[in-house]
């Protein structure tokens, strides 16, 4: 039950509350550039979500298995050269940025070749976006968030497992798609309005993006509300039970468990 709540919270916050575009400002270049037509925007959104999930999977597994100190692969290799516990101290997190960008670039290239070979119509429709995606900040940002939850965490319990990493990637991509499709819809209507000459193109898109960001700010606090609603938090209330002040810790299924108060 607790795991499901965490997954739901991550999904909610990645897609709507801390939306990648409106809260974290990643992926603005396609947001300004590609959001002219709704189909193009939707195609771009799907491509980004797809590549983001692959990148998240690869970066999670490489971080857990190679990069963090005490990771199985690095201790195994280091085991040959030094004493075992020194091997456990080998810390390769400094390589994380190169490794992530390398995996992203290679996976985008691989996906592009694969789609070109087996789905030519699909390739023609969003082929032009694929190279653009490599330099898309949203994908690297997703990998960095996953890394900060895997490598930068002191107590072992809070390390993210693969399920949470993939949820972040999928719903982050979903949030990205929502934002870019909304903007594409607005910009299509914009063709008919009288936009002042200096504001045409990117300037008006950014101003509208600002207004959309204010709208999305309305969602802040939703996750803390959902968390409160879903976690069965015990009501710590006090009662006097035969002369002694008892903190009622658990009043579920009406047997009063109490702990003697100091």
């Amino acid at each position: 039950m607790d795991y499901f709540v965490e997954i739901l919270l991550i999904a909610l916050s990645a897609s709507i509350i801390n939306n990648f575009i409106f809260y974290y400002f990643v992926g603005i270049c396609p947001f300004v550039g590609v959001s002219k037509k709704v189909e193009m925007a939707f195609g771009m959104g799907c491509a980004v979500t797809f590549v983001m999930s692959i990148a998240a999977f690869l970066s999670w597994s490489i971080t857990v298995f190679v990069l963090i100190p005490g990771a199985p692969v690095s201790t195994f290799i280091a085991g040959f050269f030094t004493t075992p516990e020194a091997a456990a101290q080998i810390d390769l997190t400094v390589l994380s940025y190169i490794v992530y960008i390398f995996t992203i670039a290679s996976s985008v290239q691989f996906v592009e070749m694969y789609v070109r070979r087996f789905f030519p119509p699909l390739y023609r429709s969003f082929g032009v976006f694929l190279p653009l995606i490599t330099t898309n900040c949203a994908i690297l940002f997703a990998c960095l968030t996953i890394m900060s939850h895997v490598a930068g965490v002191d107590n072992p319990k809070a390390v993210w497992d693969l399920g949470k990493a993939m949820t972040l990637a999928l719903f982050g991509g979903l949030g990205f798609t929502i934002a870019i499709v909304i903007m594409a819809g607005i910009r299509e209507e914009l063709e008919l309005c009288d936009v002042p000459k200096p504001f045409e193109g990117a300037a008006i898109t950014l101003v509208i993006g600002g207004i959309l960001a204010i709208a999305f700010m309305g969602f802040t606090g939703v996750d803390s509300g959902v968390k409160e609603a879903l976690t069965p938090s015990p009501q710590v209330s006090q009662a006097v039970v035969h002369g002694e002040r008892v903190a009622l810790l658990d009043i579920k299924d009406n047997n009063i468990q109490g702990v003697r108060m100091p």
């Binding site: 690095s74 280091a78 490794v99 290679s106 691989f110 070979r117 008919l192």
Partner: protein, 272 residues
């Protein structure tokens, strides 16, 4: 300390080897056998993706040329030079290089339009198109100049509420045709300096057409009787530009006289 340097270098090397191996393998395995001719044709095309040739972009046009050998001279921007280049690549003769120009299928200045209402909205054809009965004719030119704004060769102007093409400068890139909300501008090949055109697109019955405009085509078949250049389809006559040539000039002149509402004109350069 040395160990961590060695491990870092080694793991990067291993990762690089794995990824470049996968990419190399994918490069071989997923080799899409793109016909080298297509790449050559793409190379010859200007690559502006302007859509003047009527295809989605240069690569589409190139594929069309190579696979179902479409005419090589459709690229308006590239003009004769690029058509010649592609012809050499394809080993096909260029065929008569036909200059492409825009034609506005409406010849009603404001004075001859009926049922005009005072339109106070946004002075753009795209917006006026959304509003009902700005003028009685729901097919004809609105005259707010979206095409003028779209054209970057300054080859089309609004004269007395009607879009007029300047055939000296028009290269037929199709920007105006794309932007006209009523789609009454078409890009046609001019076999002669001047060709006859039915400058109307009103598809209503004769009675409504007359109520909408003084010189609308009422599909009275006068032109079709006189010359086989013209055909009637859903209450509107249309000239077949491809098989017009200088010899058929008298035929066309006769049709112009016969036409009761005078909506057939000669357009192009040196209109006598």
């Amino acid at each position: 300390m040395m160990i961590s340097l060695g491990i870092a270098g080694a793991s990067m090397l291993v990762m690089a080897v794995i990824f470049s191996y996968i990419l190399g393998w994918a490069n071989k395995k997923f080799k899409v056998d793109v016909d080298p001719k297509i790449e050559a044709v793409i190379e010859a095309l200007p690559g502006a993706n302007c859509g003047g040739c009527g295809y989605l972009g240069c690569s589409d046009y190139a594929i069309a040329i190579v696979t179902d050998n479409d005419p090589v001279n459709k690229c308006t921007v590239g003009g004769a030079a690029c058509a010649q280049q592609i012809a050499d690549i394809m080993g096909v003769d260029v065929g008569d290089m036909v200059p492409m120009h825009a034609i506005v299928h409406c010849n009603a200045p404001l004075s001859s339009r009926l049922g005009l209402t005072q339109y106070m909205g946004e002075q753009r054809c795209a917006s006026a198109q959304q509003v009902a009965d700005v003028q009685a004719c729901t097919f004809g030119c609105l005259g707010f100049g979206d095409c003028v704004q779209a054209c970057n060769y300054d080859a089309i102007h609004i004269v007395d509420g009607l879009a007029r093409v300047d055939y000296e400068t028009c290269i037929g890139c199709g920007a105006c045709a794309k932007v006209c909300p009523r789609n009454i501008i078409s890009i046609e090949g001019f076999r002669e300096a001047a060709i006859p055109v039915v400058a109307c697109s009103n598809k209503d019955k004769a009675k409504d057409a007359k109520a909408a405009c003084k010189n609308a085509c009422v599909a009275c078949k006068a032109c079709t009787k006189v010359s086989d250049l013209f055909t009637i389809s859903d209450n509107l006559s249309k000239c077949n530009y491809d098989d017009y040539s200088a010899q058929k000039r008298e035929e066309a002149m006769k049709a112009i006289e016969k036409c009761p509402t005078g909506c057939i004109h000669f357009v192009g350069t040196q209109v006598k």
